[in-house]
């Protein structure tokens, strides 16, 4: 059985191979084009990684090289011994974890209620969530709200709360919830499950893939978020990573965030690159496992709504 299958498969692929023995010019062109774009996507990352391991003096005189030489971990030593940089990491982790958990909870709840098509409830709610996509109050009212009324300056929640529910992800989740077979929910109802039980025991567990998609989008968003932090954080010890990086770009005095009293010249530039590596590191590590969910997510969002 298996061998028959394999041999028939082999036969088909052999036939395909003969038919496509000579790839057409356009296919070759496509392979070259895609490969070129892949290289363009990867080169900046490699330059940063390589630069972060290159001795600062060499970097200044001979420029970038493909392989870091002479190899130096000075910048990383600074990062992992300095309290500011570690606390920035902790801040980013906190914002990402708490933010994603809260965002996922709020988004799932709202999406479920919209997806259930309850009379008098679902339709108005979806309009309610849709309007902010069309019209926003803009920066000033938000700034006044957070600083004057909610008094959230220098709180991590000033970064978390304004981004808590993304309408676009709500609608992605609604369309996923609507694909759950109605029979399962009905049978639970017949067995006497309440609406809450149905949501927590059946709806959510059956929707793990879409929860992963939406959760990952929120997590990346929170991890990269620096703009709200820039607006509402002034205490450098509470800066999340991207904001600290942004500060290093705009060349604010480094003295207060450097761990040791400058013994020699601090490798500022190398430090900047190392911090960049540290910032994209988690995304880079998680990406191979998560990317199929992202692809699924935007495909879902693009075709159904």
């Amino acid at each position: 059985m298996t061998t028959a299958l394999t041999s028939s498969l082999a036969k088909t692929s052999a036939r395909t191979a003969t038919r496509r023995r000579r790839p057409e010019a356009f296919t070759v062109f496509s392979v070259i084009g895609v490969t070129a774009f892949m290289i363009v996507c990867l080169v900046p990352f490699w330059m940063i990684v390589s630069g972060s391991f290159t001795d600062e003096q060499t970097l200044a005189t001979t420029g970038y090289s493909v392989v870091p030489r002479p190899f130096s971990t000075a910048a990383y030593d600074l990062i992992f011994t300095g309290p500011t940089l570690l606390s920035a990491y902790a801040a980013s982790v906190f914002i990402t974890l708490v933010g994603t958990a809260l965002a996922l909870a709020c988004t799932s709840g709202l999406s479920w209620v919209i997806a259930r098509r309850l009379p008098y409830i679902s339709r108005p709610l979806s309009v309610f969530a849709y309007i902010p996509m069309l019209f926003s109050g803009g920066l000033v009212p938000l700034y006044l709200l957070v600083t004057q009324y909610l008094k959230l300056q220098n709180s991590y929640f000033a970064v978390i709360l304004p981004l808590l529910v993304a309408p676009f992800l709500v609608f992605i989740q609604v369309s996923a919830f609507r694909q759950l077979p109605e029979e399962i929910l009905d049978s639970a109802r017949v067995d006497g499950a309440g609406e809450m039980q149905i949501f927590f025991r059946i709806g959510l567990p059956l929707s793990k893939p879409i929860l992963a998609v939406v959760g990952l989008f929120y997590a990346v968003h929170y991890w990269n978020e620096w703009f709200t932090a820039l607006l509402f954080m002034s205490d450098i010890h509470k800066y999340p990573l991207p904001l600290l990086l942004q500060n290093l770009i705009s060349n604010v005095s480094f003295s207060q965030m450097l761990p040791t009293a400058a013994e020699q010249s601090t490798p500022v530039y190398q430090l900047r690159l190392a911090l960049t590596v540290v910032t994209i590191g988690p995304i880079l590590l998680a990406y191979p496992f998560a990317q199929r969910y992202f692809v699924k997510g935007i495909t879902l969002g693009a075709t159904k709504g």
Binding site: R20, F26, T27, S30, G33, V34, F37, V40, C41, I48, E56, L59, A60, T61, G63, Y64, T107, G109, L110, W112, P119, I121, L125, F128, A129, P132, M133, F135, S136, G137, G138, L139, V140, P141, L142, Y143, L144, L145, Q148, V165, G194, N224, W226, L231, P242, L245, I249, S250, Y269, T276, I280, Y287, Q291, V295, I298, T299, G301, A302, T303, G305
Partner: protein, 312 residues
């Protein structure tokens, strides 16, 4: 009998209300962070005084708007916003379609998947990181020229001091946007290509079409609806600059403002540096209203154009 029906209906209603509780946190979020700020836009018509608060400050009619439009900045940032967005939109859509068609040509499944993941990745990179990458490319450490200048010098071409030269920046930012969004859009377009029925291609093959002909004569025309949706939505958002990316890259580098300053960056700077709440809110309101008209028109057009591929 009727009693039981009424009971059941009441039970359902109670169940529904229970269910609505699940939506409460999100509803509270929208009320506080989306709807309350809309009311806060009255600041645009006030002489804002922080000690008196939003509602205590005195009205000053349209003075804030007048102030903004009479300043020389208005024209510059409006032109920049429109120009940059048109460039971004055209370039990213073209790149997305091209990449999707080329990805579709790839036969090795493994290579295709790796390629797709690789070109999708820049979408997840923070604007701040992109800004650092640009610095690496355009200005190296300690005043050395950066990788691009090294390359230019290598070919015997004159080097450019990029960060003091506003001219090339619309193009640099366009390249950045293509790098950032090309892969993301190609995933959307590739999904659209995948949904094209196979027999269209078989018919083409029987008629002796080459792969290039099939891509140009079959795939490309069939991608039009998807491209139209994305185009219309992009046009709808044309009044909103991509604040994050532009501000992270340009920051407060005034030499580059003539070509890179857009509404969002201008608003942000005048809020943070000058603290002029009234004028800033007026610009924000102007942007929101024009933006709303554009988005709403775009959505209506798009609804009419293609019912089945609704993006929103």
């Amino acid at each position: 009998m009727s009693d039981r029906t009424r009971d059941r209906r009441r039970a359902t209603l109670r169940g529904n209300l229970w269910l609505a509780v699940l939506a409460l946190p999100a509803v509270a979020f929208f009320l506080v962070f989306s709807y309350a700020p809309m009311a806060g836009l009255v600041v645009a018509f006030k002489e804002f005084d922080i000690s008196k608060g939003i509602f205590g400050s005195a009205w000053n009619g349209l003075d804030n708007f007048r102030y903004f439009f009479s300043s020389g900045d208005a024209q510059r940032i409006l032109v920049n916003t429109l120009l940059l967005n048109v460039l971004f939109l055209a370039a990213t859509l073209a790149a997305g379609v091209t990449l999707a068609i080329m990805l579709n040509e790839l036969r090795g499944r493994y290579f295709k998947r790796v390629a797709q993941s690789t070109i999708f990745f820049p979408y997840f990179v923070s604007p701040v990181v992109i800004a650092i990458m640009l610095q690496v490319l355009l200005s190296g450490p300690a005043g050395s020229g950066g990788a691009v200048n090294d390359a230019l010098a290598g070919f015997g071409l004159p080097t450019v001091s990029w960060y003091t030269e506003p001219g090339p920046w619309p193009w640099i930012l366009t390249v950045v946007k293509v790098w950032q969004l090309g892969g993301y859009l190609s995933v959307i377009f590739l999904a659209a290509i995948t949904s094209i029925p196979e027999d269209v291609y078989e018919a083409g093959q029987i008629d002796g079409a080459s792969r290039a002909q099939m891509a140009l004569r079959i795939t490309l025309p069939l991608l039009k609806p998807t491209a139209a949706v994305l185009l219309v939505l992009g046009v709808g958002r044309i009044f909103y600059g991509d604040f994050g990316t532009i501000y992270a890259i340009v920051g407060d580098n005034g030499t580059l403002f003539p070509t890179t300053d857009v509404i969002d960056t201008y608003v942000f700077r005048s809020l943070r540096q000058i603290g002029d709440f009234g004028t800033t809110a007026a610009i924000g309101l102007f942007q929101s209203v024009v933006g709303f008209v554009l988005v709403a028109t775009a959505v209506l057009i798009q609804r009419k154009y293609s019912k089945e591929t609704s993006l929103l």
